[in-house]
Assembly symmetry: none
Homo-oligomer: 153 residues x 2
DNA sequence: CTAACTTGTGGTTAATAGTGGGTAATTATC
DNA sequence: GATAATTACCCACTATTAACCACAAGTTAG
């Protein structure tokens, strides 16, 4: 029944209490073991990254293999976890996104929610548009490198 | 149910009596066997490291494998142990952090508490900011090494 | 075509969390 | 051994968060 992946784009808005509705389609794609919980954190770009609790646990397991004795390892682990917050959605399917994440993504009210198979991104509409015109552009060289990468896996 | 790990960042303050509140989220993540107890000690950087009592016991076990004949081992073991203090939090969820640790972390009143999955760090806001701009920066080489490290585990 | 359900959005109430202070019990100091 | 200082144990206030209830627009089912 249905796909267990996140696809598509939605334009929602954050209410006065900082709550954001997660598209029903995405909530239904959550495995039972995620316990109605998404994990939000800073995205690499000017956005908010959202993972299923399962996906996040995988990431944690990977981070736990790092050594607490090595400075670079600690720094990486710290950066990866300090902004991560698990959020259980309420009976209406909404989550309250922490203020510091909203600030990082430059979000005020309206947002664009993008499904990216195993993760979700939340963008401010204007910022997204700006990125589309610049950072998102790939030249032939980029595409070629990606093609090589996927073939080797 | 829920996550049993420490994630996220909080900005709290130490009151006039030297008490610091541990985020409720972190207290709830403590296993029963930790008996409402955290172990605080010096962090590797200019901060305070906090572990669950369980995690600390693990660390002790690891230290016990070191040789008491080797000078470096003794020094490492001594350094890791001498500042460690178990703290049981009060009915409001607060702990009284030893003065020498506060001094080591350069903390006076306001602190940033960072969840790092299986450990917690307490920072002075200004010092943290300073580190963000310098020590925390990782170059491509570091990232690559970390990627290799996690893949080999 | 209509009724039942789903979905996104809004508000109200109750519980929890963080902070501050007071008093009793312990420990330390002279 | 008396006194001062520190620590532990309660009680209290306020802001934030979580749990409930409600509703209109859109969709699906019969």
């Amino acid at each position: 029944m249905g796909t267990k992946t996140f696809t598509g784009e939605f334009r929602y808005s954050i209410d006065a209490k900082g709550r954001l509705n997660i598209p029903a389609k995405f909530r239904k794609a959550l495995p039972e073991t995620s316990e109605d919980t998404f994990v939000v954190t800073r995205g690499e770009e000017e956005n908010i990254a959202v993972y299923s609790l399962d996906k996040w646990r995988e990431k944690e397991q990977e981070l736990l293999t790092l050594s607490s004795k090595l400075r670079a390892h600690r720094a990486y682990k710290r950066q990866a976890t300090r902004f991560a917050t698990p959020l259980k959605f309420d009976s209406q399917g909404r989550v309250a996104i922490p203020a510091n994440l909203l600030q990082h993504a430059g979000v005020d009210k309206d947002v664009v929610i993008i499904g990216m198979i195993d993760e979700i991104e939340i963008w401010d509409p204007e910022i997204l548009k700006r990125y589309e015109e610049t950072e998102f552009q790939l030249d032939a060289e980029d595409i070629e490198a990606i093609d090589k990468y996927t073939r080797s896996s």
